[in-house]
């Protein structure tokens, strides 16, 4: 029984934290948020060199062959600094390929992905707020050696940065994953509440390619990939929630009103304590869920839903209160608190909001 991190994992955490402080501090995050791609080639290369782009990819494809709990450490630290780098999407694309792609494609693509020569993303559902196979409406018509795609992928995460896309599609035989290069499509950038996340809408109409680029995907695989998405999102939420709590807690110690630091008033300190209770709690659930991905797959659906179900609402409230406890300064664009509030808005519906996950917990728990 050991529910803690290893020495190596702690070193990895320190490494990512240092990367965020030195190479991607808040000034850089803001700069990237204003850019068309949300991407910085040098940072991406650095991440690749540090091995982060192939963390969960088996060594035979050039990765580090580590586990989701290690990936969680990285995503948590990136989330602390609101990194706009498409690390989670890239990891999800790796997971999707490992789950569904043929061996020859894995050998062909994964080494490029690990090396950072490609920036990849995964887009599953086409209807907002609906986690269900029926919410995949884009289609792939396979005709012998050729496949023709149609429909729209309206909510593609990190679409502005991606060079390659993996789209969930409907085929005549069921569900599938279609892999598409950026040259074949046009990305329409979508303005978002959270400027650090670059979402795009992509029309697939008229895209044709060899049918070997479409892989069958079972509903169970779709569920697993959705859970991986919820897992990655929750890891980022843990880091971001920690950071806004730290920011707000520090401010409460310094801000003097009526002759005292505002953190001395119970209206403020008790809310901070409640934020701490929530962050600690969905952090514990997140770590447990991350462990189940590789070590207890049959417990993964419930574990992920407990974590994401808790984090979705709690982080949203922490974002609001983090800004609110600051008073007017928190409302300004210049101050960073608002960026965390915006991240909490982004994270809430990703791969299922709390209603979805709580319903799932109820069903899995025998109701």
């Amino acid at each position: 029984m050991n529910f803690g991190f290893s020495e190596e994992q702690n070193l990895l955490r320190d490494q990512v934290a240092r990367f965020m402080q030195e190479a991607c501090p808040m000034g850089k995050v803001r700069e990237l948020s204003q850019s068309d791609s949300r991407m910085d080639a040098a940072l991406w290369k650095q991440a690749a060199e540090l091995g982060w782009l192939g963390l969960t990819v088996p060594e035979q494809y050039g990765g580090l062959g580590l586990k989701w709990i290690d990936l969680t450490v990285v995503l948590e630290e990136l989330g602390k600094g609101l990194s706009p780098l498409p690390m989670a999407s890239h990891a999800l694309a790796c997971a999707a390929l490992l789950e569904c792609a043929t061996e020859d494609k894995l050998e062909q693509w994964l080494p490029m992905m690990v090396a950072g020569d490609a920036v990849c993303t995964l887009a599953l559902y086409d209807e907002p707020n609906w986690i269900d196979p029926r919410a995949i409406t884009a289609t792939a018509a396979i005709d012998g050696e050729t496949v023709t795609l149609s429909g729209v992928k309206p909510f593609v995460n990190d679409a502005l940065a991606a060079t390659h896309f993996i789209f969930a599609v409907r085929t005549t035989d069921g569900l599938g994953l279609a892999t598409v290069a950026r040259e074949q499509i046009t990305v329409n950038a979508q303005p978002l509440m959270d400027p650090t996340k670059g979402m795009g809408s992509i029309s697939l109409d008229g895209v044709t390619m060899p049918s070997e680029y479409v892989f069958p995907m079972s509903e169970a695989q779709l569920e697993y990939l959705t859970d991986c998405g919820a897992m990655a999102t929750t890891a980022e939420m843990v880091g971001a929630a920690d950071a806004i709590l730290e920011l707000t807690s520090s401010y409460a110690k310094e801000r003097i009103q009526f002759g005292k630091p505002i953190g001395q008033y119970q209206g403020v300190k008790h809310r901070l304590a409640e934020m701490y209770v929530d962050v600690e709690s969905f952090k514990s659930l997140c770590y447990y869920a991350a462990w189940t991905v590789d070590d207890a797959r049959d417990e993964m659906p419930r574990a992920v839903s407990l974590a994401k179900g808790y984090a979705s609402d709690a982080f949203a409230q922490i974002g609001i209160d983090g800004v609110g406890l600051h008073g007017a300064i928190g409302f300004t664009a210049e101050y960073d608190a608002q960026l965390y509030l915006k991240r909490s808005k982004w994270a809430r519906p990703m791969y299922g909001d709390s209603d979805y996950h709580l319903d799932r917990v109820a069903a899995l728990g025998g109701l």
């Binding site: 991190f5 001395q264 901070l272 209770v277 600690e280 319903d359």
Partner: protein, 386 residues
């Protein structure tokens, strides 16, 4: 990170399970004097005061073994491991740390043998959460202290034989934490009067205690004069893994789900109501969070990292769950939910309605939620004190 147990730990779990299988009849099939037999048996196994040093009659049980023992006991719905609850929780540990040789010999065995029940005289009429501000007074007179004053909300006072009592021996101190002394006092002392207080559930678990010239031998002082605050703090810091509690709460959740499955709301099965389903899922979410918080803190302890005040996190979850789960069960059943034991439509024999009136035992007894929030804000987040 792994959730596996070593072969030794696994073997210990098997030992506990097989003991329970052989010696614990199902609830309802236990003979009237079963508790007595049980207490002797678990004492024999060394499971009463399991974590205590062997020299005092404990087993030196490690943190993981303690967790396993508590978890298995809770799963089996076993009677408690010893009935001297406060004796086991903090009076015993306090005596082992601060007591004289004579005190250790006099008090420790009786606690382990469940022969003596202790109560805790901390709160006073004007000082509950503000524990250090006590006024109950003790003055030295020869080889005795003479105690005058009042305690209140003393749980178990009506049936306890001894009380661990905080008194003020010095009023001329700069810090209110100084000048406090800890005394061990027999409840049948001359001048000590217990007046039970009825609580809102109709029980008389706690009491007021009046002290009028109660003479306590100096030999019954625990720790040095004026050191009472340290004795208390170190005793209360004897925090245990909350895993047994979590197992009980999962069990309560199962009962609640069972209730939902058998209840109709507005003419339809309650289990189809989205609000009902999500409320239950939220309970599960919080209990699971308690479980994994507990394991994370346990891991910290095992690695020798100091726990600051993290256990307040689970206390706050527990407090809200204690209130909300029973209240939800009562509300779900409408008029029938209101009925107490004996009512024709009482739900589950009135256990939910009774329990819904008993939450202050846990929620206020262990330090109010507001105090827990102060602890987290001040000791963990470093906010200034009130």
């Amino acid at each position: 990170m792994d959730f596996d147990y070593t072969p030794e730990e696994q073997a210990f779990r098997e030992e506990v399970r097989s003991f329970l299988k052989d010696n614990l009849p199902p609830k309802g099939e236990r003979p009237k004097d079963f508790l007595k037999t049980w207490l002797e048996q678990v004492r024999e196994k060394g499971w009463v005061g399991f974590s205590w040093p062997k020299e005092f009659g404990g087993s030196d049980g490690g943190l993981i073994e303690q967790t396993i023992l508590r978890e298995e006991m809770a799963l089996a719905k076993a009677p408690p491991l010893g009935t001297s609850f406060m004796g086991l929780a903090w009076v015993g540990p306090g005596i082992m740390q601060y007591g004289t040789e004579a005190q250790k010999q006099k008090f420790i065995p009786d606690i382990l043998d469940s022969k003596v029940t202790w109560c805790t005289g901390y709160s006073e009429p004007n000082h509950g959460s503000d524990l250090a501000a006590i006024q109950c007074k003790a003055v030295k007179d020869g080889d005795h202290y003479v105690v005058n004053g009042q305690k209140i909300w003393t749980t178990g006072a009506p049936w306890s034989q001894w009380i661990i009592l905080l008194v003020r021996t010095d009023f001329e101190v700069e810090s209110k934490h100084d000048g406090i002394t800890c005394l061990l006092v027999p409840m049948d002392s001359e001048g000590l009067e217990v007046r039970p207080i009825e609580n809102m559930a109709g029980d008389k678990h706690f009491a007021e205690i009046f002290f009028t010239d109660v003479r306590v031998p100096i030999d019954n002082r625990l720790g040095d004069e004026g050191e009472g605050w340290n004795v208390t703090v170190s005793a209360l810091a004897n925090e245990r893994s909350s895993i047994g509690e979590v197992t009980q709460m999962f069990e309560k959740l199962d009962n609640l789900k069972e209730l939902v499955r058998s209840t109709r709301k507005q003419g339809k099965p309650a289990s189809e109501d989205p609000d009902v389903r999500r409320t239950i899922a939220r309970f599960e979410m919080k209990i699971a969070a308690m479980k994994y918080n507990g394991l994370r803190y346990l891991t910290k302890q095992i690695k020798g990292e100091p726990l600051t005040s993290e256990t307040s996190v689970n206390k706050l979850h527990r407090a809200s769950l204690e209130i909300e789960m029973d209240d939800f069960a009562v509300a779900l059943n409408g008029e029938a939910g209101l009925q107490l034991s004996g009512g024709e439509a009482a739900i589950d024999g009135g256990t939910w309605s009774k329990s819904a009136l008993n939450w202050p035992n846990v929620v206020i007894g262990g330090g109010t939620p507001n105090i827990q929030k102060n602890i987290i804000a001040e000791r963990i987040l470093g906010q200034p004190k009130d």
